[in-house]
């Protein structure tokens, strides 16, 4: 369990910087086709901002923003977006992930439809990567103990010297 840090300076600076880090992560996801970036890199930066929040503010204070339940919902939503776009192209009589079939729904030419399809897939990947990173960090730091069941788990066994 990570306890709340007693330091005012680090808490204030991280509270000021975290929204800008998240905006930069969204920029990296959106500009994946032109500059270095894309879904995975943007998701990692997003997850790193939440890890910074958890490190500086402690587990009990930050739980309202980044609980395990929220992360499960986000990761499932990310995979749903990715597979959903793929199956939508399949339903419209194309191959799996053949974005040019989306041109009928969106009323644009096939080249634009391909670009928009890739953007949608990157957003889904970004969500999933962010949720998995935060969920792994929460798992390791709390030892697998969920907030409701702290009383049931006993002390870890003491090694004999």
């Amino acid at each position: 369990m990570i306890h709340r840090g007693e330091d005012v300076i680090i808490r204030t600076i991280s509270r000021m910087l975290i929204p800008f880090i998240q905006i930069y992560a969204l920029y990296v996801i959106m500009h994946g086709h032109y500059s270095p970036g894309g879904g995975f890199q943007g998701g990692v930066i997003f997850g790193a901002s939440f890890v910074l929040l958890l490190l500086t503010h402690g587990y009990h204070d930050a739980r309202s923003r980044v609980s395990e339940k929220t992360m499960i919902v986000f990761s499932s939503m990310g995979v749903l977006i990715y597979a959903g776009i793929g199956f939508l192209c399949l339903v419209l009589l194309g191959n799996f992930l053949d974005y040019s079939m989306l041109a009928g729904i969106l009323h644009v030419d096939p080249a634009h439809a391909r670009s928009l399809g890739i953007l949608g897939v990157e957003i889904g990947v970004g969500f999933a990567v962010m949720a998995v990173m935060v969920s792994i960090f929460l798992d390791i730091s709390t030892g697998g103990v969920l907030p409701g069941e702290e009383e049931d788990v006993g002390e870890p066994p003491v090694k004999e010297a």
Binding site: D7, I9, I10, I13, S14, M16, L17, F20
Partner: protein, 107 residues
């Protein structure tokens, strides 16, 4: 105009390299952990700010130079905070403070 740009950016970059060099010499030669943190925390921040301003001047009026100045502002905020965090951890863990030989403790 271009000559002035080149001269200014070269001047700032040389200042940055000078402060990097003094920070490195401080990191190697100082006797204690906390004094080394002084050298690298302050010297590196100033050197990075000067170098980034020099590179932004060389680039001209562009979106890229605004991004480079954004890195400079972020480093100006974040590097002293990281130094503060690690020095606080050092005090908590009880690292011993270096004192000069031959001086008695003032009561």
């Amino acid at each position: 105009m271009e000559t002035i740009q080149n001269l200014l950016s070269g001047f700032f970059l040389l200042g940055g390299v000078f402060f990097f060099a003094t920070a490195t010499i401080g990191l190697l030669r100082f006797p204690d952990f906390f004094t080394r943190l002084h050298a690298t925390g302050k010297g590196d921040t100033l050197a990075v700010t000067l170098s980034l301003v020099g590179l932004a001047i060389h680039e001209g009026m562009n979106v890229t130079s605004v991004k480079i100045l954004m890195i400079a502002v972020f480093m100006f905020l974040a590097q002293p905070t990281a130094t503060h965090a690690i020095s606080r951890a050092g005090v908590r863990c009880g690292l011993e403070i270096w004192r000069k030989e031959g001086k008695e403790e003032k009561p």
